[in-house]
Symmetry: C2
Subunit: 436 residues, 2 copies
Amino acid sequence: MKPVKVGLLGLGTVGGGTATVLKRNAEEIARRAGRGIVVDYVAALELDRVAELGLDSVRTTQDAFEVVRDPEIDIVVELIGGYSPARELVLEAIAHGKHVVTANKALIAVHGNELFAAAQEKGVIVAFEAAVAGGIPIIKAIREGLAGNTIQWVAGIINGTGNFILTEMRDKGRAFDDVLKEAQALGYAEADPTFDVEGIDAAHKLAITASIAFGIPLQFDRVYTEGITGVTAEDVANAANLGYTIKHLGIARRTDAGIELRVHPTLIPARRLIANVDGVMNAVLVWGDAVGPTLYYGAGAGDLPTASAVVADIVDVTRSLTTDPENRVPHLAFQPDAMSDLPILPMEAVQTAFYLRLRVKDRPGVLSDVTRILGERNISIDAFSQRQPQAGSDEAEMILLTHEVREGDMNQAIEAIEGLDSTVGQVIRIRKESLG
Amino acid sequence: MKPVKVGLLGLGTVGGGTATVLKRNAEEIARRAGRGIVVDYVAALELDRVAELGLDSVRTTQDAFEVVRDPEIDIVVELIGGYSPARELVLEAIAHGKHVVTANKALIAVHGNELFAAAQEKGVIVAFEAAVAGGIPIIKAIREGLAGNTIQWVAGIINGTGNFILTEMRDKGRAFDDVLKEAQALGYAEADPTFDVEGIDAAHKLAITASIAFGIPLQFDRVYTEGITGVTAEDVANAANLGYTIKHLGIARRTDAGIELRVHPTLIPARRLIANVDGVMNAVLVWGDAVGPTLYYGAGAGDLPTASAVVADIVDVTRSLTTDPENRVPHLAFQPDAMSDLPILPMEAVQTAFYLRLRVKDRPGVLSDVTRILGERNISIDAFSQRQPQAGSDEAEMILLTHEVREGDMNQAIEAIEGLDSTVGQVIRIRKESLG
């Protein structure tokens, strides 16, 4: 059979990695796919990279639209990133009957519903394994490997930068800002780290994961998103003393009232496998009603790991070239006409346990004021400790772990506690999950 | 579209679980597959189970051959286990143009080459996700999710019974026999535990995993297989003191000289994620040249977890019913005409590090004799400790960790050490892997 011709948009980190993997493993890939897969046409702004990567016999252009319209190209691989012109390029590729592979989580999370509808209409595939958790084949695992399950919940460490920072804070007692600077120097974090440390990147990935887990449309704008910029070395150490590790998790959970979609720092029991996923590594824990817990671990970013997922998609698409569209794996795991309209729960209705830390004046009755406020809202206390004032201070520190509580009730309780005369400053709160 | 009709062979643990999952998640499965999947015909010796499982409107028989020959059946699901009549039933199903889903690792490991050749000829699929690591979609991950990689090695905890026993021995200092009895009482181990504790079950799974990882034929009879019956509480404790955990691993590794295929107790660094996979859970660590390390964790046995994998295969096969056979995922990941004849290394040529424990007469020159024997074979010592004789004894105990060495050289060294006048009894040896 003649080789499949790939048009590659972008020769940055992932684009270069993809070209490298396709070339280096050409034989192994052809042994699997039953035919060769070759990069035929490359669009990049810096065309010097083409020679550096040894892409000798490819056609090149600086205009990506030429690639997506080229009649020779079977599969367009979009590795430019960002919303625009990625969206326009993918739509144009679809309009020209091309299959598309992309690693672009922002694009899929925000414009996926539009792109998949267009692809469905034209009978082509938009594949996006690399968009969540890099090289871990988590899309395939959930969409196909767990197809027999009703998925109950998913919890993932899906941003390597944030996990690197939290790991360093825990292992070395370092401060957030200090580790962030190192992460930037190491190339783990961008000069503008907002997407990573504020949880936006994780929220993109969570929106995608939740969609394929539950069969709901992509709803990025409904993800509650809280970053790790407020996590202090003190809270990380307190959590460790209590037997917990703080991880920045994306959590999607099916409840009777609707779907929870949330990204936030989370205390999890230190003995859980996922609590021991450290550094820049990613892991996704998926709970299916039949299989129980399964966990998928690997590199969430980087040139070759991400390329691993991109190439897996290219092989999948190659195999599907002659499949009639009705029998392909649906883009969002469930058939487009069988999507569910399960509501996304407002954050106030979400139930979690909490870690609370507060500074109080060291005087009689303070503890009873706090416990009364919690008790009035049926918030029960799982563990409590108080550190006495240091010499020369009259401020003590209280740490509380609560049992599960409705977020709205906790908001009220915290407001009331902060309103006490004896409370100094704000109450620090971090949600806590057992993941059991 | 009309529903796909499944013929179910066997209503034991996994058969019952599969019927339960197909029924309980019928709606969720149809939303994914685009059509219903129904159990239409059941073969079982004890037909009482049919009513217990609520399989009201199915046809039943005690003769499984009637099911595989039935013209109404689209997919035969073989959950009888064992070699025969499973082999004859699957061949007969293939001859009748049926697709087959099986959880039978023994059958695939031993007769897979024959079955896949027959299936290839008839243009049907034999799917076997449940045959390795139960509910973990590891076959799909390696065969499809990592299709862009040259797989370097795979190391798996792929027998839950063995892992339960080793975990209890480590956590509670219990003896092997004691824990085995408990495992039998809990239903984790069979009355005859040979397949589990002697590593045969793991060897079946390793043969399958290696085949799809490297594109080599199934070669169960070439797997070096060592069980855990010789692992003592003392060695488990010694390993822990040295910073290691003993796990019963199946390891398949690509080397320049050939493929290593081996199942044996292994010391691994306690900080590794896979060292923390405890109890009956399974995990497989796969190293691909592009993606680096990835790990897959979940339940390796049990009715519903195994059914999760069986049903995923049924959905996959349902989607492939109209695909032309050339474009399907090949049974063993690589195209049948592109299988590699990479040799399997004899165990003597395998390189690993070792943990050695020996008892010696406490007299001058013993240590130098031992180190001379090791040194003559270029075996270098990574760590050494000696426990002095207890009161009334003149026997000391030596524990050594070596660097990597050829197994053949270690065999000679151990023979020489056991030949020393000062050595008491046999040298205990356990292989050690960094998995880094």
